[in-house]
């Protein structure tokens, strides 16, 4: 009986610390465990007793790559609890800030972290010597995202300008002038990135996922919408707990999220694209078709193309919002503390991020719950790893290890967020 174990003790080019252990018996993968060993950070507990207004800045510290996602999910949840709606230009500015985060995060992942897997390089630095234009383009794209975060959020990482009810300060129109030219150039670079990644060799792999994302009546989803899937899920954000639950697994400090009646699901760019292709502008749809993507794509390795398409979209959307911007009369709407429960769900670069808070009549947080995209994708990643291993039995252990790491990076996992996550070990029996 042939058995073997493939192990990756520390998965590189992902945010945070985790490992993978894969058991193979007679050529079939029997288990894949994504071990998240980054210590749990207990944010949900430390939020208890803090004021509702503190949630966006405290939760932003969960992640240096997607702080805006935490800020946005928390402000939406708190505003629901307080019975307040933020709309008009303030709503548009939130979407603009989120575009900055998508650009920054996707540019880093597509070019520096994931592309080397497809081109056979150890890392982005080795790749840069042969693909200098693409890398320079990626860096310039990331810089444009950073700049948008700085102009609107006060600084590139962990922006400080978001508050429940709006912003502390809103920019003047003139402040957007330099970033407008930068975004136009970034858009051209994003289009070049789409063409570059579309020509990569993709493993012939597909799986019948349940895709889950937000869906909005008019927009490609970022900040708002119903939570939908390709298997009939269609709920308001308030109904999240009725359909999803988190489970503890012994090998991970991250909780694993499942659909109560169906198990694993996939969130992130591939889910957003598949469930919202009709919400993309016609030229981005055309770019997708030219890249070889149908309106529904079930090959997770091609998520790199979708991320690049979302880069184009985010640049377009940012330019659209800036062109239509008129400074609002006030940077935020007034708030009065009251007891209540609020739910927020927004599209972080790597998928839906759910927050739920209960606050008391003085506005202090009684309970907090945060379900990060990587927690939600964990089970799907493990299932992918088993399937990929089964289809790659002809590969050497080293090649299989590389393919498994590439599979994990399809998800752009943020382990820091989920820990509540990566080493790869393959056990062959």
């Amino acid at each position: 009986m042939a058995t073997k174990t493939i192990r990756v003790d520390y998965i590189a080019r992902v945010e945070g610390e985790g490992a993978l252990e894969l058991h193979i018996k007679d050529g079939r993968a029997t288990s894949a465990k994504l071990a998240i060993f980054e210590p749990p950070r207990l944010f949900e507990a430390l939020l208890r007793g803090r004021g509702f207004a503190e949630a966006p800045d405290i939760t932003a510290r969960i992640c240096g790559i997607c702080p805006v996602a935490y800020q946005m999910s928390s402000v939406h949840a708190m505003e629901q609890a307080l019975g307040v709606t933020v709309d008009g230009q303030l709503r548009a500015l939130r979407r603009l800030l989120y575009c900055g985060e998508w650009i920054e995060s996707h540019a880093l992942h597509v070019v520096m972290l994931h592309a080397p897997d497809f081109l056979g390089f150890q890392d982005g630095i080795q790749m840069a010597a042969k693909h200098g234009d693409a890398v320079r383009g990626g860096l310039a794209l990331k810089k444009a995202g950073n700049e948008l975060m700085r102009v609107l959020g006060g600084r590139e990482i962990h922006p400080v300008n978001v508050r429940v009810g709006g912003f502390y300060r809103v920019p003047r129109r003139a402040e957007f002038a330099p970033i407008t030219e930068q975004l136009k150039r970034a858009r051209e670079l994003a289009v070049a990135t789409v063409r570059w990644v579309a020509a990569f060799p993709f493993p012939n792999y597909q799986r019948d996922y349940e895709f889950v994302s937000l869906r909005h009546p008019d927009e490609y989803p970022i900040n708002e919408g119903r939570i939908v899937s390709n298997r009939g899920l269609d709920i308001t954000v308030d109904e999240y707990d009725s359909e999803f639950e988190e489970r503890h697994v012994a090998h991970s400090t991250a909780l694993q999220s499942v659909l109560k009646r169906r198990g694993s699901y996939l969130v992130g760019p591939l889910a957003r694209y598949n469930l919202n292709f009709d919400r993309l502008p016609a030229d981005v749809q055309d770019m997708a078709r030219e890249s070889g993507l149908a309106p529904v794509c079930r090959n997770p390795f091609q998520s790199i193309i979708v991320r690049a398409l979302e880069l184009v979209y985010a640049c377009d959307e940012a330019l659209r919002i800036i062109a239509a911007y008129e400074p609002p009369d006030a940077p935020s709407v007034p708030l009065e503390p009251r007891a209540g429960i609020g739910h927020g769900c927004t599209e972080a670069p790597r998928g839906i991020l759910y927050h739920r808070y209960e606050i008391d009549d003085k506005g202090a947080i009684v309970t907090a719950r945060i379900s990060a995209p990587t927690s939600q994708n964990q089970l799907s990643i493990e299932e992918d790893l088993c399937e990929v291993a089964n289809q790659s039995s002809d590969l050497s252990d080293d090649a299989l290890r590389d393919r498994c790491e590439q599979t994990i990076r399809n998800y752009d996992p943020c382990i820091s967020c989920s820990c509540h996550f990566l080493k790869l070990a393959v056990h062959r029996e």
Partner: protein, 165 residues
């Protein structure tokens, strides 16, 4: 920018977050260099995205990075590292919580042909990186030594550039 509007040939970057205790020592030191060095030396502060540094140092002849470090040395020790000649000791990884650190940015800039002729790091050993904490007295006391050594380094680099002109 220099007085004639061209890009300054030399750049000093203070890296760190002033709200995280001794992580703020880099920005503190470069602020003290303002006024002490030639106006042809650009001085900027950065909070920690090492990838963005590549763009900052494009077109420069020499770059000096000033950052906090944790190597186990006595707090306040000032380490000088020539990043183009010396491998960054693993125990002296310049503090970054993100996927790319300073050493990787030097590697990437090199691969892209964007590396200045000199990239020197002054790393000041920190002790306390708590949120909201002030800079520790022993670390703050090292600022004088760091400022003097960086000013001398800039003079040396200016002299070297002049002799090659």
């Amino acid at each position: 920018m220099t007085r004639d509007g061209s890009i300054a040939r030399m750049l000093v970057v203070g890296i760190g977050n002033p709200d995280r205790g001794d992580d703020g020592i880099g920005p503190l030191i470069v602020r003290r260099l303002l006024g002490l060095v030639s106006p042809d030396v650009a001085i900027i502060e950065r909070t920690g995205d090492a990838l963005a540094l590549i763009d900052d140092w494009a077109g420069r002849d020499a770059v000096i990075l000033v950052d906090a470090a944790v190597s186990g040395a006595t707090p306040g020790s000032v380490h000088r590292i020539d990043l183009l000649r010396d491998a960054l000791p693993p125990e002296l990884s310049l503090s970054s919580t993100h996927a790319f650190g300073v050493a990787q940015s030097v590697g990437l800039a090199g691969a892209l042909g964007l590396l200045p002729a000199h990239v020197i790091a002054f790393a000041i050993e920190g002790a306390n990186f708590d949120p909201g904490a002030p800079i520790s007295p022993g670390v703050a006391a090292a600022a004088d030594e760091a400022v003097t050594r960086i000013a001398a380094e800039l003079q040396r680099l200016e002299g070297e550039a002049a002799s090659h002109a």
